[in-house]
Symmetry: C2
Subunit: 333 residues, 2 copies
C-alpha cells in the first residue's frame, strides 16, 4: 500500500497502539495528580485561546511533545501534524498531503478534561495518500482503547471487534432518522446572530428531534440526541454502533483523523455535513481531511430491501434534508 | 435516624451496594449476549410505550424483578417503588411517604442501552422520611459504581471519594454560568409547538450557551453543553464535579432518587428547575422527590468572598434567570 508493505504496516500499528496507551496514561496521571493533590496542584493551569471554551492545558503540550518525539525517533521520515504545534504556527492551509503522516490530538475533549468529565482521549492517526489508515483512540478514564488498521478490523480494547453487534450488523431503521441516536455538539462559536453557527446548529438539532410531522415536514423524531464534547469520542461510539448519526462542523484534521480511520474500518460512512443543492440525488462524496464539516453514519448491515451501504446513503440524504449549511471554513479559503 | 440505628444503616448500605453490582452484572450480561449472539438473540425485543423514545426491554423487567425479590426477602417491611411496576399500574399519585422505601430504576438510560451506548445504569435508592439517604448507581459498561450513605460520604468504585477534586473542592466560577459545564437532556416530549417542552428547553439551552452579551442579557456562555441520555448519570457526574449544573424536567422518582442521594452526600445542591417569579430573591428550596423538575449544582468549596453554599445559590439564581418554565406535571396535579 503506497510503498508500505504488510509487515511494516503491522509494525507501525503496534507502535501506534502502544503510543496511544502510553499517552493516555500520561493524561490519567495528570488527572490523578489533581484528584490527590493539595493546594496549587489541584487547579489546572491553562491559558485562554480564542474564547473561554478553548482551553489549552500544559498537559496538552506535554503529551503532544512526548508523542512527537517518540514518532520522530522511530520514523524520522514521517510527517507530523499535531494540534498544539499547528495552533502555535501561522499556517492555516490544508495540512495533509500524500506523504506518510501522523495526525495527532494529544487531548481531545479539553473542556471535559478540565472538568474531569471522563469523555476525553488521545487521538493518533497515521495517513498515507491523504487517507487515515491507522487510528488509535485511548480514553484512559473510561479504560477504553479504540484501534484500527486498514484491513485488520476496528477494535475496542484489542479484543472486541467493532461494531459491537455484528452477527449480523443491524440495518439502519427504515424510517430514519426516527429510531436513530444522533450525536452533535454545540461548539465554540456562540455568536448570537441568526446566521451564526450556533443558531444554525440549534435549528438543525431541533429539526432532527421534533415530532415526525412537525417543522414543515422536517421533524425527524430521532430516538435520542447526545452531546459528549469530543468529536473523537463521538466517532468512536459511532464505530461501536452506539450512535447512528454524527453531524458536526468546525473540526480540524486532528479532531477527526483517528475517528475516521476507526469508523471507516468498522464499516461506517463519513461524508460532508453541508447539504448539497439537491440532497435527494447529489453524489455522496467520501469526506476529506481538511473539510472541517462532517457527517458520519454507523456501520449497517443489509436488509431484505437494501444493502447496508444503500441504507447509509438513504440516512445521509434524510439528514441533509434537515440540517442547515454551516459556515466554518479554513482561513484563506 | 428515624428508627434505624447506625449498624442497621451500614447493613442496608452493604446490601444495596452488592445488589447494585449484581443487577449491573445482569445488564452487562444482556449486552454480552447481544454482542456475541447470532440471529434472533442479537435484537432486543421491546414493545413501544408512549412513543418511540420510550422503550421498555425485557431486561428492564427481569432486573427489576430480581431487585424487588431480593429486597422483599431481606427487608419484607420496606416499601418498594420501581419504574416498571409503577408504569404497569394505574396510580400516578405522589409515591414516597415517610416509610423506609426503596426507589429503583432497573435500567436508567434505556435508549442508550438499546443502542449499546455505555451511559446506562442501575439506580437504587433507600429513602426514609421522604429523603433518599442511600444511593447506588452501577454503570457496568463503564465499570463505574457510585455509592453513598448519609454521613459516610459519596464514592466512585468504593475507593475514590466524591467530588473527585477535594483538597480543596474548587469554588464555582465567579462569572457563572460562564465557565460552567451544563448538562441537560432533550427529553421525550417532542411536540412541535411554541409552548411545548421541547421548544422551551431549547430556548433555555441556547440562553445558557450563547455569548455573554447576547440574548438580551440572557447569554450565559457556558463552557460546554452535554447530553448523556440518562438523568442518573448526569447526577452522578455532577457529584463527581464534572458537571457544574444539571437542569431537567420530566423526571420520575426512580430517575433521580439515587442520584440525589449521591450528589447531596458529595456536597451538591438539588432544587427546583422552574424559576420562581423573582429568581434573585426567592427561597431556594430543597427538591422533593415527586417534583419532576430539578436543578442540581455540583459540590463547591469556599472562596475568599463567599461560602460554597452561597456560590451554589448564586448559580441557581443565574440559571433561573435564563431558563423557561417547563410544563411537566403529575397526572391529576
Amino acid at each position: 500500500m503506497l510503498g508500505i508493505n504488510d509487515q511494516e504496516l503491522q509494525e507501525i500499528y503496534d507502535f501506534a497502539v502502544q503510543l496511544g496507551k502510553d499517552a493516555g496514561e500520561m493524561l490519567m496521571n495528570a488527572c490523578r495528580r489533581r484528584m490527590q493533590g493539595s493546594g496549587a496542584t489541584t487547579s489546572v493551569s491553562y491559558v485562554e485561546k480564542a474564547s473561554s471554551v478553548d482551553l489549552v492545558t500544559k498537559t496538552d503540550n506535554d503529551v503532544e511533545q512526548f508523542i512527537h518525539t517518540s514518532i520522530a525517533q522511530k520514523y524520522p521520515s514521517h510527517k507530523f501534524i499535531g494540534e498544539e504545534t499547528y495552533s502555535a504556527g501561522a499556517s492555516r492551509d490544508y495540512l495533509v498531503d500524500d506523504s506518510p503522516t501522523w495526525i495527532v490530538d494529544p487531548l481531545d475533549g479539553t473542556v471535559n478534561f478540565t472538568h474531569l468529565f471522563p469523555m476525553f482521549c488521545v487521538s493518533i492517526a497515521f495517513a498515507v495518500g491523504g487517507i487515515p489508515i491507522i487510528g488509535i483512540i485511548d480514553a484512559p478514564f473510561l479504560r477504553q482503547t479504540f484501534s484500527s488498521c486498514r484491513g485488520r478490523g476496528a477494535w475496542l480494547n484489542g479484543t472486541q471487534r467493532l461494531p459491537l453487534i455484528r452477527d449480523p450488523v443491524p440495518p439502519l431503521p427504515e424510517n430514519a432518522p426516527s429510531g436513530c441516536t444522533f450525536a452533535c455538539e454545540w461548539g465554540k462559536d456562540r455568536r448570537d446572530t441568526p446566521d451564526g453557527n450556533l443558531i444554525r446548529k440549534v435549528d438543525s438539532f431541533v429539526n432532527m428531534a421534533a415530532e415526525r410531522n412537525g417543522r414543515g415536514g422536517k421533524g425527524g423524531m430521532v430516538h435520542g440526541v447526545r452531546s459528549l464534547g469530543s468529536a473523537t469520542m463521538d466517532l468512536a461510539y459511532t464505530a461501536m454502533g452506539s450512535f447512528d448519526i454524527w453531524w458536526e462542523g468546525g473540526c480540524w484534521e486532528w479532531d477527526v483523523a483517528a475517528g475516521m480511520a476507526v469508523l471507516e474500518e468498522a464499516g461506517g460512512l463519513v461524508t460532508i455535513a453541508n447539504p448539497p443543492p439537491d440532497p435527494t440525488t447529489a453524489d455522496i462524496p467520501r469526506a476529506k481531511l481538511g473539510g472541517r464539516l462532517y457527517l458520519a453514519i454507523r456501520p449497517a448491515g443489509d436488509s431484505d430491501s437494501e444493502t447496508g451501504r444503500q441504507s447509509q446513503e438513504r440516512v445521509v440524504r434524510e439528514v441533509w434534508k434537515r440540517v442547515q449549511q454551516l459556515t466554518y471554513s479554513r482561513p484563506g479559503s
